[in-house]
Symmetry: C2
């Protein structure tokens, strides 16, 4: 009798952006291991399960990865259904691959339940399509956490050749912007910062690549992502149209 | 009394990868406009609604985009709840931006409900993480449909600097592979083709960039995506470990 470890994407923040399959796995779970950015509202789907916080964030207690591994494997081999709930998608900077390999190596059945990634949904919920006909037919998602991660790709990509989405890039945004400008990107390239995407506290700054490094932001511990590319202007157009709607007017031609 | 047009991502194919919010919008809908790749099982969530197929695919009838626009706007202004159900995510090559702008310009409230994109979930369900520590800290999603779309980005990206995911690249894969090889990518770079991701008919080919152009594929009308990068080897490792599990053995060290 062997259990199952499900690596489940919890989506970008809004608990309604969980998938139907994620909800099912939560409902059947004996144990749920969740990380820092997962909305606690997901709890409602698994009141029967033990919940353990295993996230890592500054100033908060965190359980060592090795301990998590050991607990998961022991319990799964006992027949328990374990959900490893990860914010966004497990395979977009979620270390899902490492966890899947560790489970498989230990002889534990493992499955992946993809989630809505903040890399696409974060911009989308601020009105920014990562692709848009005539503006972008490619998008790049990169971690801004370390220069070794973003330098090879951002240092080579031709200016304006793709929408650039940077996760974990709040702290390094001045350096990232300087790199792109040095590489030949226009200072006037539209850019945005989306804080706390898909939550009630969401905040969007919109400006240009030249201003990105010094954009004034509210103090927050929330995660943020950067979007650089002409597609950012779509959100400005949408906002203008929608604000016009709040004035009394009638649509014409319909 | 004004209705609402919801641009809803239906996910990559598996109806369980609809989000909770997508299901809610379907349940409340008066009219659902869906495209070719949306699984008909999504129908079950909206038996009360009128369903209209508005997809475009070779050999099938398709309704002109203008007609769709007109119908949506007229009905929304009458107070109806309209779901525009798009496969994957509405903003990943889904023309969601164009539809949102058209709705907003016509004075119709519009919302975006992000979905699970095949660009990430397709590889994931074949065991391929688009990012993986030590292998890739960036991924690029590009349309293989037209050279004008992929040439600027694939022609500039430094070899191996990111995982490359190509949607709509089945027909152009030989040219895409040749372009990357000419740009200096190693012929031994792992590569995969995922057909009909997230469906019962899913099929994965795995090989190298050198073989990608001539990979033998089953005859299919299903959509396919290409993945190029070292992360493809993770799926090979996972597969090997999981096949070992089917032989009688006991996990050790736990």
């Amino acid at each position: 009798m062997t259990g199952l470890v499900s690596l489940v994407g919890a989506g970008p923040g809004d608990p309604e952006l969980l998938t139907v399959k994620a909800v099912k796995r939560l409902q059947e779970a004996d144990l749920v291991l969740y990380d820092a950015l997962v909305d606690r509202a997901a709890l409602q789907h698994a009141p029967q399960a033990r919940w353990a916080y295993v996230g890592k964030r500054a100033g908060r207690h965190s359980i060592a990865q090795e301990t998590i591994e050991r607990v998961m494997i022991r319990r799964a081999l006992r027949g328990e259904r374990i959900v490893r709930l990860k914010s966004g998608d497990p395979f977009v900077f979620g270390r899902g691959g490492e966890e899947a390999l560790a489970r498989a190596a230990a002889g534990v059945p493992v499955e992946i339940v993809p989630g809505v990634s903040a890399a696409v949904a974060g911009p989308a919920l601020s009105g920014i399509p990562v692709t848009h006909r005539g503006l972008a037919s490619a998008f790049l998602v990169v971690s801004g956490h370390a220069e070794s991660a973003y330098l090879p790709v951002l240092g080579s990509l031709a200016p304006q050749a793709a929408t650039v989405v940077v996760l974990m890039g709040l702290a390094t945004r001045a350096r990232l912007a300087a790199l792109l400008l040095a590489r030949g990107w226009a200072g006037a390239t539209p850019a945005a910062i989306v804080l706390a995407a898909a939550t009630a506290d969401s905040h969007t700054w919109r400006g240009t690549l030249a201003d990105l490094g010094n954009a004034p932001l509210p103090e927050t511990e929330a995660p943020g992502l950067l979007v650089i590319g002409d597609v950012v202007q779509v959100s400005a157009q949408l906002e203008e149209m929608l604000s016009n709607q709040s004035q009394p007017q009638r649509a014409t031609g319909v």
